[in-house]
């Protein structure tokens, strides 16, 4: 009975037997990358959810009665999409980047380099696993937040579009960083000096309209701002800029990073010399 249940609950059960040999290599890498974070789900899923909820409780408690960003939207509700997106982005980045840097430092990256996997398959497998981790964390934060606060979903398709684009963008960024970095501390520096500031200064906790003009202008140079603003538009039907502008900016960034990443992988940068 338990066995039956576990095979039915195992999403790979059917695919393992039926995937075509042509795609099995990519599928296997994707599956391994998924299992890699799922095995340590407490650290990779539960812990970011908890962190986001702590932000939610503390900031909403302190600021709820002082800050009003949009009419008819409580500050606590306003915070939820920003925190979801922030966690989604950070975790999509963490997945591919930490997997690659670990494999490189441990040396087991060669198990992949010895296979007939193409650079495109390599990219897609790492990207898809990163996106799923980011999306899983984001969705979980939403579900838990619903216990505390009502969050509307005015334009679900915008929500989905920005969740997919954001996770893809940071998953790609993670592959680039993972291939570029040679040591853990380089990766940590990357995370602390690039990813963290960009996410925190992107309007997770405020609308940029509340900033002085100079900082508004600076914020508009930050691609993370558009991901969060477009995502938030999906929930509330209002944002700091048009969702189409955000879509354009995020789309262009995604294409540029994907191009760079594929170029690195194709040339064998830092992997084959």
């Amino acid at each position: 009975m338990m066995r039956l249940l576990s095979t039915w609950l195992n999403p790979f059960y059917w695919l393992d037997d039926h995937i075509s040999p042509r795609y099995r290599g990519m599928y296997t890498l994707f599956k391994k990358e998924l299992l890699r974070f799922w095995r340590v789900a407490f650290q990779t899923i539960a812990s970011p959810i908890l962190t986001a909820l702590l932000y939610l409780l503390i900031f909403s408690h302190v600021l709820e009665s002082h800050v009003k960003v949009y009419d008819q939207v409580s500050y606590t509700a306003f915070l939820v999409p920003g925190l979801m997106m922030m966690s989604l982005l950070q975790n999509a980045f963490a997945n591919s980047s930490s997997s690659l840097i670990q494999s490189k430092v441990m040396g087991n990256i060669i198990f992949l380099m010895l296979t007939p996997l193409t650079y495109l398959e390599f990219f897609i497998a790492f990207l898809a696993a990163s996106m799923i981790r980011g999306l899983a964390v984001g969705l979980s934060i939403y579900l838990v937040a619903l216990l505390f606060v009502d969050v509307p979903t005015v334009h679900p398709w915008w929500i989905i579009a920005f969740a997919l684009l954001g996770s893809a963008l940071l998953g790609t960024f993670g592959v680039i960083a993972g291939i570029w970095a040679d040591k853990f501390d380089q990766m940590a520096a990357f995370q602390n000096f690039v990813i963290m500031p960009l996410t925190f200064l992107s309007g997770v906790f405020y609308s940029i309209h509340s900033l002085p003009p100079f900082w508004q202008a600076v914020s508009q140079l930050n691609p993370f701002f558009y991901m969060i603003d477009g995502f938030r538009y999906g929930f509330f039907g209002q944002g700091d800029v048009s969702p189409w502008l955000s879509l354009g900016v995020v789309g262009v960034f995604l294409l540029a990073l994907a191009w760079l990443c594929l170029k690195m992988l194709k040339s064998g940068y830092k992997l084959r010399s």
Binding site: K31, R36, M106
Partner: protein, 303 residues
């Protein structure tokens, strides 16, 4: 029939350093082949060029007829490489790693029988569900070999598979690898233990400073480098006309290289005439170690 491995005019430079300086080598299907040479000779570099971990400065390599660069997918499908370093993935157990590795090559559940065969053949059966992290060094080495075999490659390359490994595993490993060789797999190995190469391999290439200095069958190598040695303990001075046959002299111990066994007679009678007393006599077979030291010099005596 395509050669298992065909290496043509391979050079590899690391910056200004020339690790390989023009290697030509063909290894036929079904051969058991040894690649020997002192540390730093370029063995691992050559293997990494076969597997595509490195790219050559010039030259071509084909595995089972497939160019490792222009036709890399087919070439890698045909190749299983056991790397020299003991690397592993700490997230998974032995069987999972083998399934993943086979999966990267497109092998699915139909391959599970083979995976079991490898796991049993390498004595990993009771460790199949142990996390890689928790395996001892010897067990990790077995798992590394198992992983290289996961997709059942026709050409198997083992880069010092028995370095730092206990006798029991070495024996078990060679029994299993010889079985694979009988089934038609081509085996290429580098090893520190020259007796292993001598008993296992039909042909041997010796590398020195990025060049092949010898390429021959093991038998022919042993024969052409003086089949036997005569080791004597003497009292007195060995006559001058015997000096050219001396391989080594240390105190009263003199070792002669013999082209054939009849020379024993000649040496002994010459010594008797010169009134040199013979205290002890030993006749020795030459082994690969001697040939190796002869050819590549005694640089630490390592293969």
């Amino acid at each position: 029939m395509a050669a298992a491995v065909e290496i043509q005019g391979i050079t590899k430079h690391f910056g200004a350093f020339e690790a390989l300086r023009g290697i030509d080598l063909t290894i036929g299907q079904g051969e058991f082949f040894a690649l020997l040479g002192p540390n730093g000779a370029g063995k691992s570099t050559l293997i990494n060029l076969m597997s595509g971990l490195l790219r050559p400065t010039s030259g071509h390599i084909r595995i089972m007829g497939h160019d490792v660069q222009s036709d890399y997918q087919q070439a890698r499908m045909a190749l299983g490489v056991v790397p020299q370093e003991l690397v592993f993935d700490p997230f998974f157990n032995v069987r999972e790693m083998m399934r993943f590795q086979a999966g990267y090559f497109g092998c699915g559940p139909e391959n599970d029988g083979w995976i079991d065969e490898v796991i049993t053949g390498l004595g990993l059966a009771d460790k199949a569900h142990t996390n890689m992290r928790q395996l001892s060094g010897g067990m990790k080495r077995r798992a590394l070999i198992a992983q290289a075999l996961a997709h059942r490659p026709p050409v198997i390359v083992l880069d010092e598979p028995t370095a730092g490994v206990d006798v029991e595993l070495r024996q078990m490993l060679w029994v299993f690898i010889q079985k694979l060789n009988r089934q038609g797999h081509t085996i290429i190995l580098t090893t520190h233990y020259l007796e292993e190469a001598e008993t296992l391999c039909q042909r041997v290439a010796m590398l020195k400073q990025g060049r092949v200095v010898t390429l021959d069958t093991t038998q022919q190598l042993l024969r052409s480098h003086a089949a036997k040695q005569l080791s004597l303990r003497v009292e007195g001075v060995v006559p001058a006309h015997l000096q050219t046959m001396i391989k080594q002299q240390q105190g009263d111990e003199v070792i002669f290289n013999l082209a054939d066994i009849g020379q024993v007679e000649i040496i002994l009678s010459a010594l008797r005439q010169a009134q040199v007393a013979v205290l002890d006599i030993q006749l020795q077979e030459v082994d690969l170690e001697d040939v190796f030291l002869n050819l590549v010099g005694s640089q630490g005596g390592q293969a």
